[in-house]
């Protein structure tokens, strides 16, 4: 009996040592933290939808890579950089989190970038637009996936200029993101030979834009560039229609618009708007399939941010699988080495500054008559090839680029 017990114990011990076949993965779990706004103005463009997208990516691997389980955890940063920073710290220090994903709101993302760089954790940015994240503030572990302010300025700014809209007026949200977007667009317009006839800075979360729109109307500009996001853009576009701005020949450019904004505006107010996007659900069979699965879970079509979270998480897991470890240096190297190939990005590649290069699309919002049903919102006017869509890494100011 005693020997039997002993043998049993020995067997159990053996079994115990067999489990960590993936000894290279710390604590035997790949934990990905989706950190974003789950309750405020960016909750519809990122929020729970981003978490669902991350889970969809993990499910494609059977929730298992390199022998370790994949776990998705979520938190709300409430658009506050300090909350984002403390949550990221907590996740890394005590939560066993290997990678942080999404983080819309550039201020929050910059805070998380500092922490992931210091603590050597992978940072998969889909939500934030500040070019500094793959520029002066770049990190060997930080990957900017979906879009950035340069891409928005280059896409929409250039397209409108080519249509003969040469005089610009900016209505800008008065904080880091809005100013950076205005600056990038100004550079683009000026480099092409256009002029800036004026700009006005409004506080974040303005309900009434009539005063600013009136100033823009009186400025004689060909196009009014809205360097803001979310609810601010939506209200500005809606009120521009009310004040007869588009009817009088001036154009509006939403420099950062998501499909959730267009959905909120309705086609009646949004029709004709030009915008740049990294993803549209109705591009090909792959995007349609994936978006259909997404819609079944969330009840809406995905925004480019949510689709970007899926793509980034999937690529990360692929790199872990290939590197057979969760060591951030090795995984980051693998991520740069492997091509990004999924429904979101075709032949994507990651540059030294962490910028993921993929094609962007110039889209125009359909008129109510052109739209065939719910979420049939965009006409893709043209594809912007990856190397003109994004800033040349050499000019980004990132110290990692030699």
């Amino acid at each position: 009996m005693r020997t039997l017990l002993l043998a049993g114990t020995a067997l159990l011990t053996l079994a115990g040592t067999v489990v960590p076949a993936s000894a290279q993965v710390s604590d035997n779990v790949i934990r990905i933290g989706v950190l974003n706004d789950r309750s405020g103005i960016y909750a519809d463009l990122a929020g729970e939808g981003s978490a669902v997208a991350a889970r969809m990516a993990a499910e494609e691997f059977g929730n298992k890579v390199a022998g370790a389980a994949v776990e998705i955890v979520v938190a709300d940063h409430q658009n506050k950089a300090d909350i984002a920073a403390s949550k990221a710290r907590e996740w890394v220090d005590t939560g066993g989190v290997d990678a942080i994903a999404d983080v819309p709101n550039s201020a929050a993302a910059l805070a998380v970038q500092g922490i992931t760089k210091e603590k050597k954790r992978i940072f998969l940015m889909s939500g934030p637009g500040a070019t500094a994240l793959s520029g002066a503030q770049c990190s060997p572990y930080g990957f900017q996936w979906t879009y950035d302010n340069y891409a928005m300025a280059a896409g929409t700014g250039r397209a409108l200029y080519e249509q003969g809209k040469k005089k610009w007026f900016f209505v800008t949200a008065d904080y880091a993101f809005g100013q950076s977007l205005e600056e990038e667009t100004t550079k683009m317009v000026k480099s092409l030979g256009g002029t800036i006839v004026g700009s006005v800075r409004h506080p974040l979360g303005t309900a009434d834009f009539s005063s600013f729109l009136l100033q823009a109307q009186g400025s004689g500009a060909d196009v009014i560039g809205l360097a803001n996001a979310g609810g601010d853009t939506v209200n500005a576009v809606k009120q521009a229609a009310e004040f007869g701005i588009t009817q009088s020949g001036q154009s509006l450019a939403g420099l950062l618009m998501f499909i959730s904004d267009v959905n909120a505006l309705g086609l009646q107010s949004a029709q004709g708007l030009m915008l740049t996007t990294g993803f549209y659900w109705d591009m090909d069979d792959q995007t349609r399939d994936w978006s259909k699965k997404f819609e079944a879970k969330v009840g809406k079509k995905p925004t480019m941010v949510q689709a970007g979270v899926y793509s980034a998480v999937k690529h990360y897991l692929k790199a872990v699988e290939a590197a057979k470890t969760d060591d951030a240096d090795k995984v980051a190297a693998k991520m740069r080495e492997l091509p990004v190939e999924d429904m979101f990005a075709k032949k994507g590649k990651i540059a030294a500054n962490g910028r993921m290069f993929h094609d962007m699309y110039l889209a125009q919002v359909k008129t109510p008559a052109e739209s065939k049903g719910a979420w049939d919102y965009y006409k893709i006017v043209k594809t912007i090839p990856a190397d003109t869509a994004f800033m040349d890494p050499k000019q980004s100011g990132c110290a990692l680029v030699k």
């Binding site: 909750a43 005063s211 009136l214 809606k238």
Partner: protein
């Protein structure tokens, strides 16, 4: 052409008119708050949420029942008013004998619950609500393009504001109301049902918020956060005008709208703090507010 501090007069007139439009929203909302505070001594933090509910009722009516703007203009305030009466009967009425703080906490909690529920159901991006056909388009005034709908908002809210002021300050019903706040026991002794009157007053106050919500729906997005954005400014208006002063709320609402409009021309970055700067100054010089009485 002459100019004022570097701003052409056309721009200035335009901005003043826009200020008046915003001011009439402030007036309508702060009026409801002032009525509720003046009559019930309740600081109604749920006011912004009920304004949002008013806008949502209008949107729901249009989307699911096919009831248009004009119908919503009548139905939504009634719905919000009834909701208010239910809240007053079941919860608020238990707090009248306690410190103001309890009413504030209760209504603040209610506001969070209402907003959270709508946010959960409809998301944060908001829902579109079209301008009614009869009020589309606008007039070219020479110095600016005035959308017809905005002109209607000014007329409608000024009419309601001064109607309310008249009803409370100049009619017999208003006299009962004011007497009931001074000495409810005595008024009850004269055979007037004070609790019912108080419920109706609260219902009326929040119905004004609901009405403002319907008026706002075609201009702003119908969004769960629309009340939160506005309520703080409206509170500042009430504090500047003098807590509980009805005429004070109306005049201050319009005045601050104008001031905000001017700020948007001269220094737009400050446009959402100018109201609070004024509030700080008024509180320093005249703690009871411009039109308030010391209690």
């Amino acid at each position: 052409m002459f100019s004022l501090l570097g701003v052409p007069p056309q721009v200035l007139f335009g901005q003043l008119l826009l200020g008046l439009i915003n001011g009439s929203f402030y007036a309508l909302l702060s009026l409801g708050l002032a009525v509720i505070f003046g009559m019930l001594n309740v600081i109604n933090f749920a006011h912004g949420a009920l304004y949002m509910v008013g806008a949502f009722v209008a949107w729901l009516l249009l989307t699911y029942a096919g009831v248009g703007y004009w119908g919503a203009l009548v139905v939504a305030p009634v719905v919000v008013g009834l909701l208010g009466i239910v809240l007053e009967k079941t919860m608020l009425s238990r707090l009248y004998k306690l410190d103001h703080l309890y009413g504030l906490l209760l209504t603040f909690g209610l506001a969070l619950i209402l907003e959270g529920a709508f946010r959960h159901q409809y998301g944060v991006s908001g829902q579109p609500y079209p301008i009614p056909a009869a009020l589309q388009g606008g007039q070219n005034l020479g110095f600016m393009f005035l959308p017809n709908y905005r002109a209607w908002v000014v007329v409608a809210s000024l009419t309601v504001c001064f109607g309310t002021w008249f009803a409370i300050e100049r009619t017999k019903l208003g006299a009962y109301l004011r007497a009931a706040t001074e000495n409810p026991t005595l008024v009850q002794a004269f055979g007037i049902n004070v609790p019912v009157m108080v419920s109706l007053t609260y219902g009326f106050g929040v119905a004004l918020a609901g009405l403002a919500g319907v008026l706002a729906a075609p201009i702003y997005q119908v969004s769960p956060l629309m009340g939160t954005n506005l309520i703080i400014i409206v509170f500042a208006v009430v504090v500047i005008g003098g807590m509980g002063s009805i005429l004070g709320a109306i005049i201050t609402g319009l005045g601050l709208g104008l001031l905000e409009g001017l700020t948007k021309v001269f220094y737009p970055e400050a446009s959402n703090i100018v109201v609070f700067v004024v509030m700080a100054i008024v509180l320093l010089i005249k703690p009871a507010g411009l039109f308030g009485r010391e209690r």
